[in-house]
Symmetry: C2
Subunit: 183 residues, 2 copies
DNA sequence: CGATCTGTTCATTTTTTTCTGGACAGAATG
DNA sequence: CATTCTGTCCAGAAAAAAATGAACAGATCG
């Protein structure tokens, strides 16, 4: 599952590692960076976001310095479009932010270390709407159900009730989850 | 996002609804069924499973009678392959089970109404492995980190520690989540 | 201003995921 | 047994998701 990145060298963070003095074009990512990226790719995928987003966040997470978009594109060998969109998404979740760097008009990105914003925004933006939608659907189903007086109605009503119960459970869980994550 | 199913008639459940006496080939799914299917599709997608799985479970959920695979294929207009694989997956999570029907050698499926098995199996099978994997990666990263004595090491160590903290949080949350769901 | 530099958007291409339908294996039937 | 019936598996087709790169819009600079 995890993409295999070229294990390589010459980062800000690990310029002290053995320099491979490669004859080829310089390799791109240190082992540490590869591990971090892989970690975040799988995390991000679990949340249903594209892997490029995980790459971006992973690299920023271990980078001790702020990086402009171009640097991310170069190091990750990622297109401008993906980088731009991925960073936009990460910003929108508060997982990443830009910092001012004197004498450079590009935006420089750093990873937000406190992921609780991310978690909060993710839940509010991605999970809650699903639940709301589910509730609307449940109501519609109940309405439909009231129209047929068959003997099966009771069965169906029972099942709807169960479903509603699960919905409530989910609904009740989110606030708790948030509290837990922010703790 | 939700697929739009032909709103239609003549199910077991809703044979009492107005019969549209369609001139065409008989329509397939009642409104209620469509709602249920849509609901489960979006739930299932949220968990990263293919939509056909949601269709199967959704239809079984509202069906008052056990259905053989063939019936599911027919009603959902789904191929044998998808049906077979989807049901296999649902069985493996304990979301669905087969019941005996006298004089019919086909397996007849019913939806397991208590979704706590499903939730439990899902967490144990899909989430926990990710966490375990993450832990292994964290350890590897720590080992890598110990190799470079740069001034940046402290920064990196701090970040790893944060990551580990999140990992622990996730780890701690699962048992609680399970308890909550099974309640 | 005109030139350059940054970053966004979006039509197209590429990759990944999902679905399909037929070959197949095993079980029940007669 | 040979035949039919059920369901699984898997190679190829189709659909969906993600990545690319070029056109573009808005700064900023000289």
């Amino acid at each position: 599952m995890p993409a295999d990145y070229a294990p390589a060298a010459h980062t800000d963070l690990d310029s002290l590692e053995q320099a491979p003095a490669s004859t080829e074009a310089a390799p791109l990512l240190s082992e540490l960076e590869v591990e971090a990226i892989d970690l975040f790719i799988s995390l991000i995928r679990l949340l249903g976001m594209p892997k490029s987003v995980g790459e971006l966040y992973g690299l920023l997470f271990v980078s001790p310095v702020a990086m402009p978009m171009e640097a991310l594109m170069d190091r990750l060998k990622m297109s401008k479009g993906s980088a731009s969109q991925g960073l936009k998404l990460l910003r929108s979740f508060g997982a990443v932010k830009t910092v001012y760097v004197a004498g450079d008009r590009r935006d420089h990105y750093i990873a937000e270390m406190d992921l609780s914003h991310f978690a909060t925004n993710f839940i509010k933006g991605e999970v809650q709407p699903h639940l709301d939608n589910g509730l609307r659907r449940l109501d519609r189903m109940e309405k439909l159900l009231s129209k047929f007086p068959s003997e099966n109605r009771e069965i169906a009503e029972n099942r709807l009730a169960r479903l509603r119960h699960w919905h409530e459970k989910g609904q009740a869980m989110l606030p708790w989850l948030l509290k837990f994550l922010v703790s």
